[in-house]
C-alpha cells in the first residue's frame, strides 16, 4: 500500500494505492491524523487506485470524518472502484459523506 498527499490552499488530497485492510489501516490512520493535526480539515481521499477495502477501512474513514467535522471541515471520497463502492453502499456510508465519481467533482466540493 502506498499513500501520498497533495496539498492545495483549500484542501489536502490523500491518494491511496493498494488495499485498505487490517494490515494497512494503521498506516493510513497515521497519515490522516497527521494531516488533521497540521490543521488540514478539508480532506479528499482518492480511492481510484484502491483495489480492496474491508470493514477496517470504514473505521479509518469514519475516524477521520468525525475529526474533520469537529474542526468545521469535511472529508469526501472519490473514484471508488466497484467493489469498494459496494462496501461503502452496504455499510450506509453513502448517507454519511459525499462520494464522487471523479476527483474534479471532489475538489469542487471544497471549492464551492
Amino acid at each position: 500500500m502506498e499513500i501520498s498527499v497533495k496539498q492545495s490552499e483549500q484542501m489536502s488530497i490523500v491518494m491511496i494505492e493498494g488495499s485498505i485492510d487490517a494490515l494497512t489501516a494503521d498506516q493510513i490512520t497515521t497519515c490522516l491524523d497527521e494531516q488533521i493535526k497540521n490543521g488540514e480539515k478539508h480532506l479528499v481521499i482518492d480511492l481510484g487506485k484502491v483495489d480492496f477495502m474491508s470493514s477496517v477501512g470504514l473505521r479509518v474513514m469514519l475516524g477521520a470524518l468525525k475529526e474533520t467535522r469537529k474542526l468545521g471541515g469535511d472529508l469526501c471520497l472519490a473514484c471508488a472502484q466497484e467493489g469498494v463502492a459496494r462496501v461503502l453502499k452496504m455499510s450506509g456510508f453513502t448517507n454519511l459523506l459525499e462520494i464522487y465519481d471523479d476527483i474534479e467533482k471532489a475538489i469542487a466540493h471544497f471549492k464551492s
Binding site: F52, S55, E82, R86, M90, G92
Partner: protein, 128 residues
Amino acid sequence: MGSLPVFREFIEQACRHDKKIHDAACYDLKLAVDEAITNIITHGYAGMNPGSIILSLEIDPDKIIVNITDFGHAFEPSEAEAPDVDAGLEDRSTGGFGLFFIHQTMDEINYEITEGGNRLTFIKQLPT
C-alpha cells in the same frame, strides 16, 4: 495480519481460472474471507500464540464453497449484533461490519466447532 493479502490473492487466482466467476463475485469472496480471517486473528487467537488458518476453495458448476479452519477460541458468527447502517455520524460505530459483510455477500454460512478449533463454511451461488 500479513497473511491477509496472501489469502485474498489465493481467492483472486482461483476466480481468474473460471470465467463464470465475475469480478463482483470475486470481490465478495475476497471480502468475506478477509473479514473472517481478520476476526480469527483478532479474536480467535487472542491471548494465544498465532496459529494456523487453513483456507480451501471448491468451485462447483453452480456454487463456490469456501472453508476456513482455525484452531483458536470458539466464535459463533451469529452471536454478533448487526450494525446499524442507518445511524447518523455521531451514533455510528464501525464494529460488527465484518460479520455483516459476510452475511450480505454469501448465500449460506455454516459454522461448526471441530476438535481443537472451528470451521467456517461459506457458499456463494453462481449465476446459471
